[in-house]
């Protein structure tokens, strides 16, 4: 058995990923990183969880490995597996193992989607041991300094069907992220999409109103990401009402009355 050589992980992207803090999350994350504590980010879709992790990886100067979890994600998808070559087998590290070896930040996005037996492999990594046992190779991997585990999930989404085990939950420091405040969100939309300030402000006002429909049949409320998409369409010359209908209203619902009400809101918000 041989271990293949990997090219070193690239550091987080060039330039600072744009992030506007809404509370003490940056300081908190820095402290957790220094202490080697695992972090759990909770928040609605598109509120900036992934961007926050990218920003922190840049700030802490660590490589970032992102794994999008799905319901077929098995433990070997995270840890690694033997691959067969013409002349024998070779062990291939999974993303988690790589992060542990190289001291990267490993970000498991939407972790509730993963099978529960998969999440259990994280347990030894998230307590004082900071160990990753790889039973197939018999290796006991000690986490390199700088390794940090970050998971995220959306508490509102399929809450009843899937949830983290309580024993998993309490291994993490939880941070609640939510949509940014009105001013911050307007600033973010303006900066990310390049739209002018009044339009970005109006987009945010529209989003506030649409978010009030959360309990009226709207399963997911419009995220900051949707606003940025709408803004970007405006910048490219599409009239703002049409951009909103295409980027915000239509993706959110198929229900006739809801779409109708949302159209009315768009009509009322923009001149």
């Amino acid at each position: 058995m041989t271990l293949p050589e990997y090219p070193p992980l690239a550091k987080a992207s060039e330039g600072e990923p744009f992030y506007v803090p809404c509370g003490n999350e940056v300081a908190m994350f820095e402290r957790c990183h220094a202490r080697g504590l695992a972090v759990m980010l909770k928040g609605p879709t598109g509120c900036g969880k992934t961007r926050f992790v990218e920003h922190m990886a840049w700030k802490l100067d660590r490589p970032l490995i992102t794994v999008a979890c799905h319901d077929d994600l098995s433990a070997s998808d995270l840890i690694g597996r033997f691959l067969i070559r013409h002349d024998g087998t070779v062990w291939q590290d999974g993303p988690l193992t790589r992060a542990v070896r190289e001291g990267a930040i490993c970000y498991l996005d939407e972790v509730v989607e993963a099978r529960q037996d998969t999440v259990v492999v994280l347990h030894a990594l998230t307590d004082h041991r900071r160990l990753l046992p790889i039973d197939k190779t018999g290796e006991l991997l000690m986490a390199a300094p700088g390794f940090q585990l970050v998971i995220s999930y959306n508490p509102g989404y399929q809450r009843m069907l899937k949830d983290l085990k309580p024993s998993t939950r309490q291994r993490f420091v939880a941070m609640d992220l939510d949509f940014p405040g009105e001013d911050a969100e307007a600033k973010i939309v303006e900066r990310e999409s390049g739209v002018d300030a009044p339009t970005s402000r109006a987009l945010v006002t529209l989003a506030r109103r649409l978010r009030a429909l959360r309990d009226r049949g709207l399963a997911e409320v419009p995220s900051t990401r949707l606003l940025i998409a709408a803004g970007a369409l405006c910048v490219d010359g599409i009239p703002v009402r049409e951009a909103c209908l295409a980027a915000i209203v239509s993706p959110l619902s198929d229900d006739e009355a809801l779409v109708g009400a949302m159209r009315d809101l768009v009509d009322g918000t923009f001149i």
Partner: protein, 672 residues
Amino acid sequence: MAEAEEVLTDAARHATVFAQRLWRRYSPAPDAPASLSLSEVAERLELLLSAVFGNSYRLRIAQPPARPTLLGNWFGRTPRPQRLAAVPATDGTSIWLPRSLDIPDRALAANLYRVMALQQAMRIRRGSALSLWRSLPPLAGALYHLLEVQAAERELLEEMPGFAESVRALRACAHARRPPLSAFGSARRPLEARVRALLIGEADCVPQSPTPEASCELAVRLLAEWGLEPASGGRIGQEPLFADWWTGMLLAPSPHHQHSAGAQSPFDPTQAAPQSVRLERRPDIRQARPDEDESEESGPLMIQLDEPHPHAEDPMGLQRPIDRDDADAELFGEMLGDLPQARLVASPGRPKEVLLADDPPDASANALAPGVSALQRGIAYPEWDYRTQHYREQNALVQVRTAPPGNPAWVAETLESHQGLLEGIRRRFELLRTHRAWLRGQVDGDELDLDAYVDAVANLRAGSGLTDRLYRTQRCAERNLAILLLIDVSGSTDSWISQGRRVIDVEREALLLVSIALQSLGAPYAIQAFSGQGREAVVLRDIKTFEEAYGQEVALRIASLEPEHYTRCGAAIRHASANLMCQPAARRLLLVLSDGKPSDNDDYEGRYGVEDTRQAVLEAVLQGISPFCLTIDRQASAYLPRIFGATRYALLPRPELLPTVLLDWMRRLVQG
């Protein structure tokens, strides 16, 4: 014998009604079917309002005003012109909109509805209807009203600038529909001129007032400044402002009704079913003056023969006993519709006539009586009222009880008699059980598939190429299903089917077999039995919870099932759905076993019950539950498709076959 006076009033009444019917027959037809009605846009409007204002307001149908009476016209109690159409209004909590706008252009009508609703909601937010403007003199009150309308509109446009065009359209429509200036008496003309100027946007001189209180002061000041006060002798009436779609109306806040304790009287089957008739318009509810009921001067015509029925009274203190046996309901409906206001009086006894209105008065009886003791209180669920298209919050109380153990002999006997069937059931359902299985020869997988690898190497040596299907992976073909059986044990299950067996006997037998079958399936399941009497006592018995395993105790509880009260399905389905949602499963199956239509001893009978049950099923579907109904009611095809949808129910032609059919369906549903 009838008094002479009574005969006279009766004759006069019939004459009036006849004349009015004649008059109406030659009046133009009401509305063309094409025009947009409020019910078509109500849901959309409600969503819009709750998004803009963060509050949900109840949308109600505005009533047209009472037709002016001949006498009223002659003696000129209210100066002309009088409003004939329904206008939007608010009382500070609800919003009234006209039933239809009678505009052929549906897009324009939708646009107008939208602006009217937003304007009324903005007036609610400002608190326009709640301030003390009623203490102002009528003209100042009219000015206050205009100031508030103007201020609310400005606030609306500041927030939603995109509606400026729609507001202009509404103003133009309102302006075009006002009666000509010449129709107004000289006293009302200056005010009317001001209103028109406002409507076409020429009166910029109206200052913006920040609060309704400021509007009150401003109105008094403007009244003097503009010199609107009529010369002595000019009649302006109580409502000098001619209300239209733009101005709308500010109604008095709805008072709290007093719940009459013990108003529910025992059901008396000897009484004839009440006559019902649809009201053209419902009179406004008038509050009793404080001294009214005590006053001795309530008129010589006040006759109280026996126990009072709920009846409507006219506002002038002439408490006419018109709710009488011989008066036909239609006549009564018309007379009531002509009254501008009526008091709502609740009294015990069964009504003789039921009057249906588009906008039923706030029913205080719908709220739970405060007297219900804490012990009796159960889990409250809302009920859907199709007439108002709204939920009645906390309308039904579900009381969860456990079932007492029944007769062990019955269990032993039933199991004995179905011994042969049982083995087969167990085997068939065990086959449906799911296991974790290794899938071999996969392109990608958790582990190497050694067998495949050996084969591949051998093939390679023999000269063929190396296949890439060398891994094995563990797949859990899990069903991930939770099942809840909801059994109807209402009184109707007491009926006999054959061989001296009742519906309930067959149900019990089927339940026992199905629980054994489900136990071998290995999926979590629960059994609940329900019946109810009145909305405060929907009894739900837990026969088996999700947590416990099938055993003798469960069998004994099944044995104890006996017919109870009525079938108040909605609350039971809601409770079962809530239980089912607590189960961590990807698929959830709610199987309702029923023997008849939703019913109860109150208004749950008939369409109300069907619609509420339908709504409960819809809620379950929205939560991701798959509901299914098995029924032995032969008439079920009349209402079950409405409740469960065309594909979610099955009819059992021969109830005695229930055990086998239920098992069969269970298998189909589980596999599906």
